[in-house]
């Protein structure tokens, strides 16, 4: 309606003549037939490869737990991550914006290109001289300029600046990216050129055909290169599992995780074919950054290589072909890769899936890993300590038993119950709760949440621990849990859902931040750098609460990698319990980053980070900063009389 009325406003046009796009004169039949033939060839070449990929994806096993609904999340993700390119821009602003302009130009060109081809057959529907046509073409021209500049910039970056993350394993760059960039540039140039020549001229004809031929060569290249993401990634983002680091339930009695090609699901297949090889995952990976074999991009590309060679029905093992067992077990499950990936690839279900395949079948043979599993089987805690040790600690600290009358069940976790430093955190947190008059109690028969077993892929031990704990909590009528350990929080809140309904749980940072105002004021001393634990930040989206606790008594400084870009301490994924690391220690690398802020204190909010940093700091001779949990920082504000328990831990 609007367009029609604008069309009938030639007076306005005459007053502001817009530059018009030159179109060639109508084609003779032979030229139309040639065009039709070329389109068919291009489409056939496209399909010859794309059809194979599509069939591979569809032939993979169905995702047992996939639900299309509710759609709201999917639509939002699609809008935010695809249409707005939010993730692409946020983490790498300049190249991200360049990419976004190329993408938005493609959107703008959808109509232009359809009209372009239709013109060849004599059915052009946009009139370059018409009101809507002239404005739309001009708008497309603006995008074309932005796109041409952007693609030239991206080309320059990839082939001249050469960021290390874009290179392949063997340090080469894919030449086809250059070809594609050239084609996109040519597409834009041939479009813009049509503004500079008269309509119906020979030059207009040449430009028209160049544009068309570029387009028709571009199309078949797409499925042969990483530019397949043009087609697949919108679907990948729309169809993603959702949540963060979501480990899908095992489908049936025959499902042990990712063992062979048969275990690759459709979603995983779709994701591995969508990878655009941008290397953002690897850039942020603590393992790849400390000289380990693991490289999350190569994990994804490894699966793609496997699917290309063996297909989704193959019974060839996955590990030992394109992916290695060593790499799979170097992952700290920090989630940086999954968080960063701009095309919605979920690395953790893949990495944990490969581990499940190796552990659930007994293939993984590791001295420390085996010991950990036996400790969990036999003692119910990851440290393999006698349960009586915990009892003694409860008695010594006068921690009341949970009897159903208290508000909170204080979850000690393995670290809080058995580790000397973990116990100090509990002791401090209990002082704060006592000061606030919050009622709490401790379960006598608490067991490990199963976090290390879950992340290392031991479904048997994880299930036993989760069920045992859930039953215990239900018997004791626990409604609310509070924990000092982000791993416990995540595992109870999310992973246990596979076996029941866990009670509400929160991390002590959330509790402390909420009650901050009721704690005594203190003068601000020193500077503190807060290390975001992976399982509190990326996994739970809690960034500000621990900072507010610290800011009450100290000047907060930020490490270069902080908040959602925080660098792992090296403990997650069960790795705290495994042997020596390949390459540099992740913990030492992180401590270095934290020390370089010049802070006098490192603030931690996870007993595992704490233990890793403590060891890393112990090996330093310079005057290293002190290391405190936020509970200890908060407890320092309390009047000394409310700290009756100053007995030191027996070593």
């Amino acid at each position: 309606m609007l367009i029609a009325s604008l069309h009938s406003a030639p007076a306005a046009l005459a007053a502001f003549p817009l530059p018009a796009l030159a179109e060639p004169s109508p084609f003779p039949l032979a030229e139309k037939l040639l065009l039709a033939a070329l389109i068919l060839v291009s489409a056939w070449l496209f399909w010859r490869r794309f059809g194979i990929v599509l069939r591979r994806i569809l032939a993979a096993r169905k995702d047992a737990d996939f639900h299309l609904f509710p759609l709201t999340r999917r639509i939002w993700d699609f809008f935010w991550e695809v249409l707005c390119q939010a993730k692409v821009i946020r983490e790498r602003p300049l190249p991200g914006l360049a990419h976004a302009f190329v993408f938005w130009s493609f959107l703008a060109f959808a109509l232009v290109t359809t009209n372009h081809i239709a013109t060849g057959f004599g059915f052009g529907f946009l009139d370059p001289a018409g009101f809507f046509g002239s404005i739309y073409f001009l708008l497309a021209a603006v995008f074309a300029i932005a796109c041409a500049i952007s693609i030239a910039g991206l080309f320059f970056r990839r082939f001249v600046v050469r960021p290390v993350w874009l290179a392949h394993k063997d340090n080469t760059l894919s030449p086809e990216s250059g070809v594609i960039a050239g084609l996109i540039f040519l597409l834009m140039a041939t479009y813009l050129g049509a503004y500079l020549v008269p309509a119906g001229s020979a030059a207009a004809l040449v430009l028209w055909w160049m544009h068309t031929l570029t387009l028709l060569s571009f199309l078949p290249l797409v499925p042969h290169t990483k530019h397949l993401h043009l087609i697949l990634s919108p679907a990948t983002i729309f169809l993603s599992r959702g949540g963060f680091s979501r480990i899908p339930p095992l489908a049936d009695d025959e499902d042990f995780g990712l063992v062979t090609g048969k275990d690759i699901t459709q979603l995983t297949a779709l994701q591995v074919y969508s990878c655009v090889e941008c290397g953002r995952c690897t850039e942020h990976c603590p393992a790849a950054n400390t000289g380990k074999e693991l490289n999350p991009r190569e994990i994804i590309l490894g699966l793609r290589g496997y699917l290309n060679e063996y297909g989704p029905a193959s019974e060839e093992p996955l590990l030992g072909r394109y992916n290695s067992q060593q790499a799979a077990f170097q992952c700290t499950t920090c989630g940086s890769c999954e968080f960063q990936c701009p095309v919605g690839i979920e690395h953790l279900p893949v990495i944990v899936g490969l581990r499940r395949g190796a552990v659930n079948t007994g293939e993984w043979d590791d001295e420390h890993g085996g010991k950990l599993f036996l400790a969990l089987e036999r003692s119910g805690n990851a440290l393999g300590m006698a349960h009586s040790e915990r009892e003694k600690f409860l008695a010594r600290e006068e921690l009341p038993a949970f009897d159903g009358s208290q508000e909170y069940c204080l979850w000690l976790g393995c670290m809080g119950g058995y580790d000397p430093k973990g116990r100090e955190i509990i002791r401090s947190f209990v002082q704060v709760m006592r000061f606030l008059g919050t009622s709490y109690g401790v379960l006598r028969r608490e067991k490990c949440t199963g976090d290390p077993a879950r992340r290392l892929g031991n479904d048997l031990v994880f299930q036993q621990l989760a069920e045992n704990n859930l039953e215990n909590l239900a018997q004791n009528k626990v409604k609310k849990i509070i924990s000092i350990c982000p791993h416990c929080v995540r595992t109870i809140a999310e992973d246990w859902k596979a076996y029941g309904t866990p009670p509400e749980i929160e991390h002590h940072s959330e509790f402390l931040a909420r009650h901050q105002a009721r704690l005594p004021k203190q003068p601000t001393t020193g500077t503190t750098v807060f290390h975001d634990p992976c399982y509190l930040g990326r996994y739970r989206n809690v960034y500000d609460e621990p900072r507010s606790v610290i800011a009450a008594s100290s000047t907060l400084v930020e490490a270069e990698r902080s908040r959602e870009r925080s660098f792992c301490c090296g403990a997650g994924g069960g790795l705290a319990f495994l042997g020596e690391e390949q390459g540099a220690r992740v913990s030492e690398t992180r401590v270095e980053q934290l020390i370089s802020t010049g802070a006098t204190t490192i603030g931690a909010a996870c007993p595992f980070c704490n233990t890793m940093f403590r060891d890393a700091l112990a090996s330093r001779t310079d005057n290293a900063p002190q290391l405190l949990d936020i509970a200890q920082i908060a407890a320092a504000a309390l009047p000394k009389t409310s700290q009756p328990n100053t007995l030191q831990e027996n070593p």
Partner: protein
């Protein structure tokens, strides 16, 4: 090689122990049970032998219904089948009685090797295995760390006191009691548990084995160890105090 592993289900290591009303045993309600530790090593040895030389591993255990769970755990770790001597009153048998039940249950199996743990974590008698060998009239050796198959039988490594070891060549069939700690135990896996469900677990009523339940040894009473902490002050100059400390550590505590 056909190997039988006799395992025992015992109270979890650091269970909170209470004496039951009879005063003759501990109260078993509210207690979790585990596979006896040295039996777990015996099972591991059997599985390693089977992996190297083929054959069959059969687990044998005696006790009430709940013992089935420990047998299934052994099946999940890789044993091929299980025999459960069902008895709700195993405590009324002594080591001789239990060994007689076991002998009766496995005599027809004609195994090449019978393995048991060195001793149980609860009673710690260390006799059942040895008596079982006598009842079956086969040679035995205790405190075994390593088993190798030879052309004529087996060669075993036996632990003696004070860091001494003994190498023994034995014919088969034979019975060995296994010392803990020499191998790395395998962890239970989901696949193992699933497979275990399809494995044979035969139950035999203890009463049907024709063994007299009248024990030749009777347990009179059990008591919790009384723990005493004592503090001694060592006086004198630092050198004298140190000398006294060394002497005490050598003579009384015997840790040096």
């Amino acid at each position: 090689m056909k190997i039988i592993v006799a395992i025992k289900q015992v109270p979890e290591r650091d269970a909170r122990i209470r004496i039951d009303s009879s005063g003759k045993w501990i109260a078993l309600d509210d207690i979790e049970f585990r596979m006896n530790e040295s039996d777990a090593y015996a099972l591991e040895e059997a599985l390693l032998l089977r992996e190297a030389h083929g054959g069959e591993v059969i687990v044998l255990s005696a006790g009430p219904e709940r013992v089935g769970q420990t047998i299934r755990e052994a099946l999940a770790k890789g044993a091929d089948r299980g025999i459960h001597i069902l008895s709700d009153s195993l405590a009324s048998y002594d080591a001789l009685g239990v060994a007689r039940l076991m002998a009766a249950a496995i005599r027809d199996e004609a195994a090449d090797l019978i393995l048991t743990g060195l001793q149980s974590d609860d009673l710690g008698l260390g006799q059942t295995g040895v008596i079982l060998a006598e009842l079956l009239a086969i040679p035995h050796s205790s405190l075994i760390l390593k088993i190798e198959k030879t052309d004529t039988g087996i060669r075993v490594l036996r632990e003696l006191e004070d860091g001494w070891f003994q190498q023994i060549e034995m014919p088969t069939p034979a019975l060995l009691t296994i010392q803990s700690g020499n191998t790395r135990l395998r962890y239970a896996t989901l696949m193992g548990i699933k497979k275990a469900k399809t494995k044979e677990l035969r139950s035999v009523e203890a009463a049907s084995l024709g063994v007299d339940a009248v024990p030749s040894v009777t347990l009179d009473s059990v008591a919790l160890p009384s723990r005493q902490k004592s503090t001694q002050m060592l006086t004198g100059s630092p050198a004298e105090a140190a000398a006294k400390l060394v002497e005490k550590l050598q003579q009384e505590v015997r840790v040096l």
